[in-house]
C-alpha cells in the first residue's frame, strides 16, 4: 500500500455474492446472477474509498455485502480486526454499531409515519440503554451536527426537502458512533446545488468523528473530489484500484479510460476538442458473463489472450491494482 502509516480498518478478500435464479413450475435453480464475483480491497482507517461503476456493475451489492446485509456466497470480510464474513446475523448484532449505512433514496429509506426524532432515536433504542432524556439530548446533538434545526424534531420526513432528508439519514447513521460508513449513492437523488452541501457535510463529519467511508457513486467528478483512493468496478469485478490523483491522471485499464472520457466536462472548448472513447454496445448480463476477461466484448484494445484467460487482479505499481492483460506479464497470468 502507498500509505504505510495507516492500517486497514476494513479488509475484503475474494468476496462473492451470487443470487440464484429460480424458474419453471418447480422453481428450480437454473443459474445465478454473479453480482459480485471475487473482489478484494482494503479500506484504510480515516480514508474514503470511492467505488465507481455503471448501473448493474455490482457496486451497491458490494457495499451491502461488506456490511453483511446479505449472507455472502464466499469470501472474507474483516472490520476493525474482527472476521464477519461467516458470522450469523445474531452474532453480528453487537458488531452492527461500528458499521452503518447511508442510503441513496432519502424518500424511501425514512419511515413516513415516524417523526425525525423517532427515526434518529431508533438505533439508540435498539442498541443502547440510555434514558429517555439522554436519548433526547443525543438526538438534538446529532441534529446540530448534521445542520438540522433541532426545533423540527417532532416533524415528519415529508416536511423536509431532499437534501434535509439525506441529513436525517446521515444523523441516523451517526447515532451509534460508528467507525465505518458505507455511503450508497448518497447524493444521486439530489440537485447539483444541494449535492455540494451534503458532500461538504460528509467531509466535515469525517474530520470531526474520524470516520472511514466507502463512497459508492456513479458520479466520477464527485468521487474525484471526496475519495482518497478509487476502485472501478465492471460486471462484478474490480478492474482497477488506485490513489485518486494517479487514477484520474493516468488510468491504466481501458474501461477506466473509456469511463473517464465519457464524463461530460462543463467547458465547451474542452468538450468539443477532446477525442472521446465511445464504447460500443451494452454491458453483458451478469448471469452470463463473457468467458475470460469480462470487458473483452466492448474493449477497444482487445487481444486474443483476453478471450481465453481471465486477467489476474494484481499490483502493477506501488498502490495501483489492475486486472488487464495489457498491464500484467502474460507468463505469470498463464501460470
Amino acid at each position: 500500500m502507498l500509505d504505510q502509516t495507516r492500517k486497514p480498518l476494513v479488509r475484503v478478500r475474494d468476496l462473492k455474492m451470487h443470487f440464484p435464479i429460480h424458474a419453471g413450475l418447480l422453481r428450480r435453480r437454473v443459474g445465478e446472477v454473479k453480482a459480485v464475483d471475487g473482489i478484494s480491497f482494503d479500506v484504510m482507517e480515516g480514508e474514503t474509498l470511492g467505488l465507481v461503476g455503471e448501473s448493474g456493475c455490482g457496486k451497491s451489492t458490494c457495499g451491502r455485502a461488506v456490511l453483511r446485509l446479505y449472507d455472502i456466497t464466499s469470501g472474507e470480510i474483516s472490520i476493525d480486526g474482527r472476521e464477519i464474513g461467516a458470522l450469523s446475523q445474531g452474532k453480528l448484532r453487537p458488531i452492527r454499531p461500528t458499521m452503518q449505512m447511508v442510503f441513496q433514496d432519502p424518500q424511501a429509506s425514512l419511515n413516513p409515519r415516524m417523526t425525525v426524532e423517532a427515526i434518529i432515536r431508533e438505533p439508540l433504542d435498539e442498541h443502547t440503554k440510555l434514558s429517555a432524556a439522554e436519548k433526547r439530548d443525543k438526538v438534538a446533538e446529532l441534529m446540530d451536527a448534521v445542520g438540522l434545526n433541532r426545533n423540527f424534531a417532532k416533524r415528519y420526513p415529508h416536511a423536509f426537502s431532499g437534501g434535509q432528508r439525506q441529513r436525517i439519514g446521515i444523523a441516523r447513521a451517526l447515532a451509534l458512533n460508528p467507525k465505518f460508513i458505507v455511503c450508497d449513492e448518497p447524493i444521486a437523488a439530489l440537485d447539483v446545488s444541494i449535492q455540494a452541501q451534503v458532500v461538504n457535510l460528509l467531509e466535515d463529519l469525517q474530520e470531526q468523528f474520524g470516520l472511514t467511508y466507502l463512497f459508492i457513486s456513479h458520479d466520477l467528478s464527485m468521487v474525484r473530489h471526496i475519495a482518497t483512493r478509487v476502485a472501478v468496478m465492471y460486471l462484478g469485478k474490480i478492474v482497477e484500484l488506485a490513489p485518486r490523483e494517479a487514477l484520474y491522471r493516468d488510468p491504466l485499464h481501458p474501461y477506466t479510460k473509456a469511463l473517464l472520457s465519457a464524463v461530460p466536462e462543463p467547458d465547451p472548448a474542452l468538450a468539443r476538442s477532446t477525442e472521446r472513447v465511445i464504447l460500443k454496445g451494452d454491458v453483458p448480463s451478469p448471469s452470463n458473463p463473457p468467458k475470460a476477461c469480462n470487458f473483452c466484448t466492448r474493449c477497444p484494445a482487445v487481444m486474443d489472450i483476453c478471450k481465453q484467460i481471465d486477467p489476474e487482479y494484481q499490483e502493477v505499481q506501488p498502490g495501483r491494482f489492475v486486472a488487464c492483460h495489457l498491464h500484467t506479464d502474460p507468463t505469470t497470468t498463464a501460470g
Binding site: E54, D191, V192, S193, Q195, A196, L220, L259, P264, I278
Partner: protein, 334 residues
C-alpha cells in the same frame, strides 16, 4: 448554428400556474425565447425550476385543472399553439414537433412491440399504409444505430436495454421528420458511457436531418458538449441566456456563476472544498414580486427585494435577469 432566419418556434410571455389546495404555484413566469432552424438550444435548471413545465405548456400536455396557462403566445408554423383547436395541436405533436422524455422505461408501452410504436405516428400523421410504415420504421431503427434493426421491430420494450430504449424513443420522435425536437432530460437515467453514445447520435442526427433541438438537462457538462445557445432557468424564470461559449466563459447571473463553481470536474485543479449555494430553491407560492434568487445570492442588495429584475441585454446575444452588473461590480443603471 446561429443565423438570421426566422425562428421556427417563438415563445413570448408564457405564464403557467398550478392551482393546488395550498394555493397557486407559479411554475412558469413570463418565459420568452425563440428557436432558430437547425439550432440546438440547451435549457438548464434544477428540479422545480420550471424547465419541463415550460415545454409541456407549449405543447398543451398539462392536464387542466390543475394547470392553467395564464398568458403568452407560442408561435409555430404561423399559428399560436395556445389558441389552436385540440385536433390541430394533436397533428403538430408527434408530427412536426417530436419529443423524447427522460425515462424510456415508462414512456414506452410494454404491451406493444417496438415496431408498432414507431409505426403509430407514421400511420396517424403521415397516413402511411402498414407495409410502408413498417419499412420506414425499420429505416428509423437503423438510423438510431440499433443492430439487426428490422428483426428487432417485433421485440417488446423489455427486450431492450435502457440505452436501446432511449434510441427507440428517439426513433419515434424522428418518425415524421420533425422541424423541432424537444428532449427532456433524455440521458439522465442512463449511464455515462451510454450517455456518450446518445449524445454522439444526437449530434450526428441533427447534422443529417437539420432539425432544431431543445435539450433540457440539469447537467452543465452535457450542455457544454452539445448546445449552441443556453437558457438558464431558476424559480420559473429565465435568469440568463447566452451563446454556450459566453455562458461558460463569462457568466453574468450570480446563480449561473455559483452553479459553475459548485460542480467538481474530472480534470484540472481539484478544489479543497466545494463551493456551496446556501439555502433552498424558492417555493413559488406567490407571483414573484422580487428576484427569486435573492435569498441565496451573494451580491443581492435592497432593490432585489423590491422588484423582480427583467432580462438585461449585455451584448452579443447575451442577457441576464440581474440588477447587479458583474462587469462593473456594482448596481446596473437601469
Amino acid at each position: 448554428m446561429p443565423n438570421v432566419a426566422a425562428p421556427v418556434l417563438d415563445v413570448q410571455g408564457l405564464k403557467t400556474v398550478f392551482k393546488t389546495r395550498g394555493g397557486e404555484v407559479h411554475a412558469v413566469n413570463d418565459v420568452s425565447f425563440s428557436l432558430k432552424p437547425g439550432e440546438l438550444l440547451g435549457v438548464v435548471g434544477e428540479s422545480g425550476s420550471g424547465k419541463s413545465v415550460t415545454m409541456m405548456s407549449l405543447l398543451g400536455l398539462l392536464p387542466s385543472p390543475p394547470a392553467d396557462i395564464r398568458r403568452g403566445t407560442v408561435m409555430f408554423d404561423g399559428k399560436d399553439l395556445l389558441k389552436v383547436k385540440p385536433q390541430t395541436l394533436r397533428a403538430v405533436r408527434g408530427g412536426q414537433i417530436g419529443f423524447v422524455f427522460q425515462d424510456p422505461m415508462t414512456s414506452l408501452n410494454p404491451v406493444y412491440t417496438v415496431g408498432m410504436q414507431i409505426m403509430e405516428p407514421l400511420r396517424k400523421h403521415m397516413g402511411l399504409r402498414k407495409a410502408a410504415a413498417r419499412n420506414r420504421a425499420g429505416e428509423l431503427l437503423e438510423l438510431v444505430g440499433i443492430p439487426d434493426a428490422r428483426r428487432r421491430l417485433d421485440d417488446y420494450p423489455h427486450q431492450f436495454s435502457g440505452g436501446m430504449r432511449q434510441r427507440v424513443m428517439i426513433a419515434i420522435a424522428l418518425a415524421c421528420d420533425p422541424k423541432v425536437l424537444i428532449a427532456d432530460e433524455p440521458t439522465t437515467a442512463l449511464d455515462v458511457t451510454i450517455q456518450a453514445q446518445i449524445l454522439d447520435l444526437m449530434l450526428e442526427l441533427r447534422e443529417k436531418l437539420g432539425m432544431a433541438v431543445i435539450w433540457i438537462t440539469h447537467d452543465l457538462g452535457v450542455i457544454a458538449g452539445i448546445a449552441d445557445r443556453v437558457l438558464v432557468m431558476y424559480g420559473g424564470q429565465i435568469v440568463e441566456h447566452a451563446p454556450v461559449q459566453d455562458l461558460f466563459r463569462d457568466p453574468q447571473h450570480p446563480y449561473t456563476r455559483a452553479l459553475l463553481k459548485t460542480i467538481p470536474t474530472i480534470s484540472g485543479e481539484r478544489a479543497k472544498r466545494l463551493t456551496v449555494i446556501e439555502g433552498q430553491p424558492p417555493l413559488m407560492m406567490d407571483a414573484p414580486a422580487s428576484c427569486p434568487f435573492r435569498a441565496r445570492c451573494d451580491v443581492a442588495f435592497d432593490r432585489c427585494a423590491r422588484e423582480n429584475p427583467p432580462r438585461f441585454d449585455v451584448g452579443h446575444g447575451h442577457d441576464a435577469a440581474c440588477f447587479y452588473d458583474a462587469r462593473t461590480g456594482g448596481p446596473r443603471n437601469a
